[in-house]
């Protein structure tokens, strides 16, 4: 049940999604990944991809134009 973080601040699509996919591949079931993003498209496509994979996803608006996507690997 480890927790990981991925800093994608300042990065535009599709880099946050590609980085998330790569990072998630290395996680174990039950692990959590927190992706920091400030690109509004990534706020749509990262959760969309993760939900399609069957992971638990939560999006939190942490500031103006800044989000944390919290993904729990299934």
């Amino acid at each position: 049940m480890a927790e990981f973080e991925l800093d994608c601040l300042g990065e535009a699509c599709p880099v946050p999604l590609m980085k998330t996919e790569k990072k998630m591949a290395g996680l174990k079931s039950g692990d959590t990944l927190i992706v920091h993003i400030d690109h509004s498209c990534a706020m749509k496509n990262v959760p969309e991809w993760a939900r399609k994979q069957g992971h638990n996803v939560e999006v939190e608006e942490v500031g103006d134009g800044e989000w944390d996507v919290i993904i729990e690997k299934c």
């Binding site: 601040l9 300042g10 990065e11 880099v15 134009g65």
Partner: protein
């Protein structure tokens, strides 16, 4: 004042219209309606990158350059557009509108942010990518708006040819992206 904004930010119509992103279908329908309205009003299909070439020519003229002999600007129509100036160029005005509208949308959603530049690599990729896209769009006679969106909407085969090669370019681009940015 703060109370007022707190109240608005909890309003569900505010969330629906300004805060939450539209679905792809909503966006597509709105784009279609607006481009039909634009075509009906101005008589020209929507384009974006054509105006950038004019901006280049105007900047070059500011510094005393002359583009009259350049093949790209040699037609009398192109010369007329350049002589009329930026404020009489509908393509330029629409591009200003896009920038102003995007800023307004970000502000209304309370999502405006100055983003940090992550690395020199990012700057190099952005500049190189921008140059390639601009150059390619002029060679192709349009970008993904003029040569793809407006062409397909006008039932022109060229839009589909453009789409095919756009996919080829996107495939190569994503391979390069994965190689240099992951």
């Amino acid at each position: 004042m703060k109370q007022f904004f707190d109240k608005i930010s909890k309003n569900r119509y505010y969330a629906m219209v300004f805060k939450n992103p539209f679905t792809y279908v909503t966006g597509a329908v709105l784009l279609s309606l607006f481009q039909i309205a634009l075509f009906a009003y101005s008589g020209n299909p929507w384009g974006v990158s054509g105006a950038f070439a004019n901006w280049g020519a105007w900047i070059y003229r500011l510094f005393g350059g002359n583009v009259d002999k350049w093949y790209y600007f040699s037609s009398s129509g192109a010369q007329q557009t350049l002589d009329a100036g930026v404020l009489n160029n509908s393509g330029s005005l629409m591009n200003f509108g896009i920038a102003a509208g995007a800023l307004l949308a970000a502000l209304l959603a309370s999502q405006f942010k100055f983003k940090k530049i992550k690395s020199v690599k990012q700057v190099v990729a952005a500049v190189l990518g921008g140059l390639l896209m601009g150059y390619g769009a002029r060679l192709a006679g349009g970008c993904n708006i003029g040569a793809l969106f407006s062409s397909i909407a006008s039932l022109s085969l060229s839009g589909w040819v453009f789409a095919l090669f756009l996919l080829v370019g996107a495939f190569i681009g994503s391979k390069l992206l994965a190689k240099f940015f992951l």
